[in-house]
């Protein structure tokens, strides 16, 4: 056992969190489980629990900061020794120290996605391959990764989630008794940590002993084919992709059996394992797709909730919301219609070539061929990106431009001392690399899918416009995401991705209907994009809000929904984000809600029709002639 850190809270003193505790014990018992994620809101003691693992495992916990650089984590060049010794000397990274220990990442969702992916792969394979900056190395690292995250911030992609063998959801203990107990323990710990730790020493020792014993039992634990079958079927039931879930199920079931002192897996182990292995691998997408045979021409697609369906049926009898009928109807007042338009799926309308709606010089026809659009080069702050030129470093640098350094030193070689080196490089010679990378661009489409847009197939036009803009992004390789709001909430339909095929499907399936919770949408997008932009530094983000701007669901009951929206919009300050508001309203009387909203957001304003590049060109021509 390592020296006990008196300041660290004991594992067994953490109240509740049974799933997370179980997951952590499984990792300690079964060396074939290597990665655990603990998800939970703020103040659920995720971090405390993760750190307390050191004491019961006898392993060191190596903390990896979220903003870690690739050199720090995997290893890079040790500049001082390199210059002193006259050969490329490697500086080992954090991971090399992790061999035989535990790596811990807090707020893992805020970590650079590529570094996180490499970290996960290194841990899972037990091997780090390094090809960086004159250093070519490969070293093995036998370690496990514990990560925590708060899903309220941006989430990690399913691809990354799948690489976590286990995932536990931490929740705040229910009821006042639980809360009181947490508080009581906390106060006690604060008052006298040493005494508190002492109080739990016996429990901790017991736990540690049980883990040690379980490790020994593990190789003897058997699992019947029946239960392996059950595991696989469970994984299939939640539509988990691939085999990682299946394998984790078996490994975890065995660990659980061992922890319970058994040498045979029982059904309840499998059930417990499912909670840890499958929840984060659950797939929803296909569930809806499968029972849905090729789409028919009917414009209304039945919705998911059965209660609503009945309601609709009644209304259908009286009003018959046939598509053709709607077309002939004049734009009616929204309230009744919204109800009756609940949950319809409109097909995607006409597409067109879009204008360069994201550039500030508004209403210019985009010349896609002539310019690279908004993908400009920016100086990169870390050592990723292309080595463009060199410069004299401001302070200590890790990214030396060697050619330039050698060149800088060359003239002085005759006057400098040479011991056994041919070249004497001094501090003032050192140049660092200036690297450039293409600035990425993320566009989040915030789409109003409320009933008021169901009027006169307006939603089809909106979908057409969104798809046109998606296509534009495809050409420019931006990251795109989609959030839709209707009824009482906003839902992230598609987290920002470069893959547009998925977005197409999501767009096609997006139902329309219900009221317009615009204020709620602004709050949701604010939360989401604030943390998103934090984890994608240097990336320009756009939120393209497509709405008629007529809110009718206030946040707090009784207040004016539209005024609330404007007030919210004025207070909005998401870093690196620019707003584009596209007015989707139609009809003879055009309300200026969307325009005022654009003003409040300090964003650019377009009418839906104006997005069409060709039509714009036409109107310009008309004016000139």
């Amino acid at each position: 056992m390592p020296p006990v850190d008196l300041r660290s809270y004991p594992f067994s003193a953490v109240y509740g969190m049974d799933d997370a505790k179980r997951a952590l014990q499984c990792v300690l018992v079964n060396p074939n489980i290597r990665t655990v994620l603990i998800r939970g809101g703020q103040g659920t003691a995720k971090t405390v629990l993760a750190r307390s693992v050191g004491r019961i495992s006898g392993k060191r916990i190596i903390n990896i900061p979220v903003n870690v650089s690739e050199e720090q984590l995997f290893g890079g060049m040790d500049i001082d020794s390199t210059i002193k010794e006259g050969r490329a000397v490697m500086q080992p990274g954090l991971l090399s120290r992790a061999d035989g220990n535990i790596v811990y990442v807090d707020d893992v969702n805020l970590m650079d996605q590529r570094i996180l992916m490499t970290l996960l792969n290194s841990v899972l394979e037990g091997k780090v391959v390094l090809e960086r900056e004159g250093i070519s190395a490969e070293y093995s690292t036998d370690t496990m990764l514990i990560a925590t995250m708060n899903p309220v911030d941006s989430d990690v992609s399913p691809h990354i989630l799948d690489r976590f063998d286990l995932c536990a959801y931490a929740s705040i203990p229910e009821g006042e008794d639980g809360k009181a107990e947490v508080l009581r323990r906390n106060i006690e710990f604060q008052k006298d940590p040493a005494a508190f730790v002492e109080m739990y020493r016996e429990d901790e020792e017991k736990l540690a002993a049980n883990i040690e014993r379980s490790r020994k039992i593990l190789p003897l634990v058997s699992m019947s084919d029946d239960l392996i079958g059950v595991s696989v079927e469970l994984a299939a039931k939640v539509l988990a992709d691939g085999h990682r879930g299946d394998i984790a199920m078996v490994n975890t079931s065995k660990a659980l059996a061992a922890l319970n002192g058994r040498d045979e897996v029982m059904r309840k182990d499998v059930e417990e394992a499912a909670m840890l292995c499958l929840a984060h691998r659950r797939n929803y997408v296909q569930e809806q797709e499968q029972p849905d045979p090729p789409q028919e021409q009917e414009p209304e697609e039945q919705e998911q909730e059965p209660e609503d369906q009945e309601q609709d049926q009644e209304e259908n009898d009286t009003e018959e919301p046939e598509d053709q009928e709607q077309e002939q109807q004049p734009p009616p007042p929204d309230t009744d219609l919204q109800q009756l338009m609940d949950d319809m799926v409109f097909e995607i309308g006409d597409q067109f070539k879009v204008i360069d709606y994201l550039n500030d010089g508004r209403r210019k026809v985009s010349r896609t061929s002539a310019k690279k659009g908004r993908r400009m080069m920016v100086e990169s702050s870390d050592s990723s990106g292309r080595y463009a030129r060199s410069r004299i470093p401001q302070d200590r640098t890790h990214d030396i431009a060697f050619d330039a350094t050698v060149r800088a030193a060359a003239p002085y070689q005759r006057t400098r001392d040479h011991t056994d080196l041919a070249l004497n490089i001094q501090k003032q010679d050192v140049r660092e690399k200036v690297r450039e990378m293409r600035a990425g661009c993320t566009i989040l489409f915030l789409v109003d899918a409320s009933g008021s847009l169901g009027v006169r197939k307006r939603m089809s036009a909106v979908k057409g416009a969104v798809l046109s803009m998606l296509r534009d992004s495809y050409v420019k390789r931006d990251r795109i995401g989609m959030m839709a709001f209707r009824r009482s909430s906003a839902e992230l339909v598609l987290p920002p991705t470069r893959s547009v095929e998925y977005s197409y499907r999501k767009l096609e399936e997006m139902p329309t209907g219900g009221k317009t919770p615009l204020a709620e949408a602004l709050v949701t997008v604010n939360e989401y994009m604030t943390s998103y932009s934090r984890s994608h530094e240097g990336e320009m983000c756009y939120i393209v809000l497509i709405t008629d701007g007529r809110a009718n669901v206030p946040l707090s009951e009784g207040s004016d929904a539209n005024e609330e929206v404007l007030k919210l919009a004025q207070d909005m300050a998401i870093p690196q984000v620019r707003w584009v508001v596209i007015d989707a309203s139609s009809g003879f009387i055009r309300f200026d809600n969307a325009e005022r909203l654009a003003e409040a957001l300090e964003g650019t304003y377009f009418r839906l029709e104006d997005l069409n590049a060709e039509r714009l060109a036409e109107s310009v021509r008309a004016v000139i002639q």
Binding site: N32, E70, F74, T82, G86, R87, A88, R114, M117, N121, K127, V129, L130, E131, R132, E133, G134, S136, S157, P158, H159, R163, P219, D225, I228, G229, S231, V232, A236, D241, G242, H243, R244, G245, D246, I247, M249, V250, S384, G385, R386, Y387, F402, D403, V406, Q413, L421, A422, L423, I425, M437, L467, R471, Y474, R479, T497, R498, S499, E501, Y504
Partner: protein, 341 residues
């Protein structure tokens, strides 16, 4: 201690992926393979496991660029100089390797750069070979190829296209042969591949997880058995692994003997035309793949079955499609084409 890899012969199913990789080993000029598919479908495991079944090849003793002595037209400057001086190039048989390009690789380590040690010790410029040099004559594997930095992709493309790595940077001017089997794996959910890079891959495979419970159970059992006792499990599969390597080596030797008559040429052209594919690259690749497939099956004559086996691998990523269309390979259409001849 070398970490043991899950044996190739023990991977359940995924026949298309295995075939695409084997064909490339038999004829590296097919142009590599791109493996796309959902997560957790043994993509990386399969590629890495090739290390144990890759055939042997000739290389110049001590050459840092892995020059091939049988190709005097494709030598690095050092070997070329030796040859010009009338020295003999010592040849050595080595096993082909899987060279991995990590995502975090920097340009200088990929293309090669100044040898810092040499510069410091002697004050002379010397070239330090990078990943593209070690990849020469080997298999270059890029995991998550769609996440690779654009400027690294550019380097790969240049070498893959020309078989030579030209370096003009940091005051160095150098070139050396860099011919490799490029294998990339990716999950399309994370983003698409640049079209230029997509074109570079000779074959492509869409991998899907098996849905069959029995098969999935088998996958799990084998994996767990391997994890419990890697060396024991590897030993158990040794005979089968050796046989597979032998099969590949033999197919490689027999490849020059494989012939295809006019009806096969016609069939290939008909198929590519009916799938709406322009240019000749698909035709040529299909012929190479079909021949390699025949060699793999131990035949010296290409048959329609070979075309059946390789058509989707050759065509699926070349079929023209608009950004938002789902692409699906139409096996019925293929059958119609083949029947018509």
């Amino acid at each position: 201690m070398e970490k043991l890899l899950f044996p190739f012969v023990s991977i359940v199913g995924q026949e298309d992926m295995k075939r695409a990789l084997l064909l490339n080993m038999i004829d590296p000029s097919i142009g590599g393979a791109l493996i796309k598919g959902e997560k957790g479908t043994a993509k990386s495991t399969t590629v890495r496991s090739l290390a144990k079944i890759l055939p042997c090849r000739e290389t110049v003793e001590g050459c840092p660029f892995n020059c091939d002595p049988t190709r005097p037209d494709m030598l690095c400057p050092y070997c070329a100089e030796k040859l010009a001086k009338g020295e003999k190039l010592e040849s050595r048989k080595v096993r082909m390797r899987v060279v991995e390009l990590p995502l975090s690789a920097t340009e200088d380590r990929v293309a090669g750069t100044l040898d810092i040690e040499h510069v410091l010790k002697t004050g002379e410029k010397k070239f330090e070979p990078g990943v593209l040099a070690s990849a020469n004559g080997n298999l270059l594997y890029v995991d998550e190829v769609n996440l690779l930095d654009d400027h690294i992709v550019d380097l790969l493309l240049d070498s893959a296209a020309m078989g030579v790595n030209y370096i003009e940077r940091e005051g160095v001017s150098f070139s050396h042969p860099s011919r490799f089997i490029l294998v990339g794996t990716m999950n399309p959910e994370e983003g698409e591949l640049r079209p230029q890079l997509l074109d570079r891959f000779g074959l492509s495979v869409d991998v899907k997880g098996d849905k069959d419970t029995e098969l999935r159970m088998e996958v799990v059992k084998r994996r767990i058995a391997f994890d419990m006792d890697p060396s024991g499990y590897t030993k158990q599969c040794q005979a089968e692994t050796d046989a597979m390597r032998e099969k590949v080596t033999k197919a490689r030797e027999n490849l020059p003997k494989v012939s295809a008559d006019d009806s096969i040429i016609k069939a290939i052209v008909t198929v590519t035309t009916s799938f709406g594919i322009d240019g000749h690259r698909a035709d040529i690749t299909m012929m190479k793949a079909a021949k390699a497939n025949a060699a793999l099956e131990g035949r010296t004559e290409v048959t329609k079955d070979d075309i059946r086996a390789v058509a989707s691998l050759v065509l699926s990523h070349r079929m023209r499609r608009r950004p938002f269309e789902e692409s699906a390979f139409d096996t019925e259409e293929l059958e119609r084409c083949l029947q018509s001849i």
